[in-house]
Amino acid sequence: MNALAAILIRDMRIAVRVGGGALIGVLFFLVVVTLVPFALGPDLSLLKRIGPAILWLAALLASLLALDRLFAADHEDGSLDLILTGRTPLELVVAAKGLAHWLTTGLPLIIAAPLIGLLLNLDAPAEAALVLTFLVGTPALTFIGLIGAALAVTLRRGGLLLAVLVLPLTVPVLIFGVAAANAAVLGPAPFGTPFTILGALTLASLVVGPFAAAAALRQEME
């Protein structure tokens, strides 16, 4: 447990220091969402209709930004060698790194979402529903992303490959996240059905992600 806490604290420290990924993700999210009303013009009903989709897309792209360094940085400086040969199960280390990534990139998005939602003409109940879908759905983005980050670890410019690998896998999360948020904003479809499926997707990714990523890392160690 001690070793996992150490990994979690170290990764969070690195993320919030200069050059870390935490601030970049949330700034990117804010910039993308801010640009949308400028591009579409002041059509309030249109913004309200597409608002949840814009926020979800921006969150998806923002959570990818810091992901390519997640294992690549540890690989380049030799830390990964020590982690691979350590006594702590690799799957748990990967999960701890995923948790640190979510706490530093997913959580700030959730905090920023209600503020930026105002720009897209979302009212209070809609924002509450959106925050709820973010809270349940963004861990899935991180833990699916772990797999791509592990596969791209030995590549010098892994960022692009990472996006190509990960984005298709996140489509279900995007569909049900936006569907749940839209149901709350526009009605009349029920909120519960897509929201439950979103929760199921997250739970599945929490289990599959660390095992798949650990297997990919072991494979690339050779």
Binding site: N2, R13, R17, E76, G78, D81, T85, G86, R87
Partner: protein
């Protein structure tokens, strides 16, 4: 405790790096692995720690903890120092101490042992190559492991630090430890055994295997 290998072979990228390598090191002994560039010194150490697959041959540890792999009972000091530039010297060592199974209090004394205690709050980005190497050596002192696998440990160290490293290695051997060190020059231990990887003349000449 005895670490022994017989008839080890290593293949990388379809090419044979070495074959038929054997050694035996007991507690309190050191083995200096030497050879020209590309002869497989680093590969041999990575094989022992478990980072490279053993193509053929046998590697065994007698008298160790049967529940743990060799790598889990060893410290591996590779070419890279496994330091994060944005963390301070103290934070870096404290992380590895905790990750490798030590307690948080264990990291202060080793920092003094490698002469970096005055720099504990400095970000590791500002360290010189030799200071970085000393910081990663401190990791070996912070958590006790019987086997040390050192890949050219002295390559960036100044003379005083090299002598200090030799002292630390002697202390480790005297405490029943075991050292495998890859090096071009002498590692400073007079009674170290030696293993030359390019003893086979056909590979020495750079010929095809």
């Amino acid at each position: 405790m005895r670490l022994s290998a017989s008839d080890l072979a290593c293949r990388r990228g379809g090419r044979e790096v070495f074959a038929g390598v054997g050694f035996s090191v007991a507690a309190g002994e050191a083995l200096a692995v030497s050879g020209r560039n590309g002869s497989g010194k680093s590969s041999l150490l990575r094989m022992v720690v478990g980072l490279l697959r053993i193509a053929s041959g046998r590697l065994a540890l007698e008298g160790g903890d049967p529940e743990l792999t060799i790598g889990e009972q060893a410290h591996y000091l590779g070419h890279q120092d496994a330091l994060k530039p944005s963390l301070s010297v103290g934070e870096n060592l404290r992380f590895w101490t905790e990750f490798l199974g030590g307690t948080a209090a264990d990291f202060i004394q080793p920092l003094a042992a490698v002469g970096l205690d005055a720099l504990a709050d400095l970000p590791a980005a500002y360290l010189s190559a030799g200071q970085r190497r000393r910081l990663s050596i401190a990791r070996l002192l912070a958590v006790k492991r019987p086997i040390w696998l050192l890949d050219e440990p002295a390559s960036t160290l100044d003379l005083a630090a090299q002598r200090r490293l030799t002292e630390l290695m002697r202390t480790h051997l005297a405490g029943g430890g075991l050292i495998l060190a890859a090096a071009h020059g002498p590692i400073g231990l007079d009674d170290a055994k030696e293993l030359r990887l390019d003893a086979n003349p056909s590979r020495l000449a750079g010929g095809k295997p």
